[in-house]
């Protein structure tokens, strides 16, 4: 059985009196260790699908299983706990806490574990070393370049060793060189550490780093390349 199973998933939004169906019966399976790029024009539903996969939102219909667990049936609190243990997130605009150092930002997810202060710090230091920022641990986000900030965000995403990494346009705010650095890092995490990655991107170059490229349009899967 695949690590991620999406069966006939629909998602509706209500705007005023109008109900808009954003996803129309999506079916998708993602194996453990896969690196999937979701591509498509704006409004195709790729971020919505990513949010459902990451447990940030719940589907209107259908089933989503991750590692044999139905996440579409979890309560809000249970979904929070599930996210803490199973998912790491990377966003286009990094979404770091500006007033915390890189180390403290990376340590954040570990506050939800039973680790002691020293152990949390050690794990955060390891994660920052993995992304090549061992020398920048005490820096605040504003003191780092865009590429470095995204690396901090990746360190935060991997520090609790999640099952899946969810990346929403991780290179969308970066120049080409920084974007390539970030993509090489994600690829290394996928190839060398076996991390399963699902990434939304508009950037065909970034998508080339993925093993599979899945195309959406108007809420429907329309094709796949490997």
């Amino acid at each position: 059985m695949a690590l991620v199973e999406i069966r006939n998933v629909t998602k509706n939004y209500t705007r005023g009196r109008e109900t808009v169906e954003v996803l129309h019966g999506i079916n998708l399976a993602i194996e453990a260790g896969d690196f999937v790029a979701l591509m498509g024009p704006s409004g195709s539903g790729k971020t919505t699908l990513l949010n459902l996969l990451g447990g940030l939102d719940v589907p209107t219909g259908g089933e989503i299983s991750v590692d044999n667990q139905r996440i579409d049936q979890l309560s809000s609190a249970a979904l929070s706990r599930w996210r803490a243990h199973n998912v790491g997130f990377v966003f286009q605009f990094y979404n770091l806490l500006e007033h915390l150092s890189a180390l403290k930002n990376v340590e954040l997810p570990l506050l939800l574990t039973s680790l002691g202060g020293a152990e949390r710090r050690r794990n955060a230091e390891i994660a920052l070393t993995v992304v090549g920022l061992a020398e920048r641990m005490t820096h605040k986000p504003k003191e780092l370049s865009g590429g470095q900030q995204q690396r901090v965000a990746i360190a935060r995403a991997i520090v609790s060793d999640p099952t899946v990494l969810i990346c929403d346009e991780p290179t969308g705010d970066l120049d080409r060189a920084s974007a390539d650095d970030v993509m090489r890092l994600l690829q290394a995490l996928n190839r060398e550490q076996g991390k399963t990655i699902v990434m939304v991107t508009h950037d065909p170059k970034a998508a080339e780093y993925a093993r599979r490229r899945i195309h959406l349009d108007k809420g429907t899967l329309i094709g796949e390349e490997t």
Partner: protein, 385 residues
Amino acid sequence: MKYLGLIWANLFRKKTRTLLTLLSLVSAFLLFGLLQAVNVLFNSAGDFVGATRLVTQARVSFTQALPLRLLPQIESVDGVDAVMYQQWFGGYYQEPRNFIAMFAVEPERFLAVYPEWVLAPEQREAFLKNRTGVIVGRQLADRFGWKVGDKVPFNSNIWPQQNGDKTWPLDVVGIFDGKDEDWQRRTNALAYLNFAYFDEARQFGRGGAGTYTVTLGDPDRAAEVAREIDRRFENSPDETRTQTEKDFQLGFIKQIGEIGLIVNAILAAVFFTILLLTGNTMAQAVRERIPELAILKTLGFRDVQVMSFVLAEAVLLVMIGGLGGMLLASGAMAVLGSLPGFPPFRMDATVWTWAIGAMIGLALAVGILPALTAMRLRIADALRR
């Protein structure tokens, strides 16, 4: 405790704004501490006297004198142990700001009724025998450098001598202490002169005393004895009003006005302003960092945890400001209370209890709405902002 660092960092993410808010909280609680200490001082004005004495005054007002001929009638009331009478002198030394709470008393009766004042035997004897003698409180004597044997020109803002002079040269024959710390504190502005001399020398009002003070054999009979004294003078030209010494003291203080009401009205206005100010700061702080709160939820922090963080920030903010203000007020009270001419202000447990209660109430009031906003935040919507 592991979240304290995060809460602290969030609180001080806009340092200037947080420090200004803290400053306003410190000011509010400084004012609260000072005014409540004044309130306590007024309310506890009679606490030190115990319940073994009654004070009889003219029914209309204590400013109206009662004739000395009432003395044997009061003494004969069942339950009365000893009786003294006294007249307010309205004293000061050299200039009115050197106020002295000065009374004319009959020495023997006075010393029998107030064993709380400690006087050396020879000074006691001198006070009994010397018609122009005056005894002064220890702290008052220290303040002006008086010693036994000095002749001091006291001034009265009420009573002239027969020659019209309001200056009364009196001989310091004794310096008294209080039996304990509470009573000792009251020696900072008290003096007693001999009633017989005063009564003969004053230009008007002879044969009258402002109040009678009665000691009771059994404090439980206070109400009964008070009723009986007042009954004896009913429908006479000298109707009386008898109450415990504590009630008399409080009544005296209340001549100034409803201090508690005034203090509480001022504090209500201050806290209402602080509520709006701090509430606005908290609401603005949460509005500004909705994406950050959404990230915390994304990482797996539960709704109730995020709500608790915001509430904890409000509590921390108010507690730091509140405790800072209260500590400053305590320091100010200690300094003021040690200065000559100032009453013994103190910050007792009641003031602290009220202050902590006010801090918790204020923190909840300013924190609850932003905290609920944070709790209800939908991640997918908030991340788009």
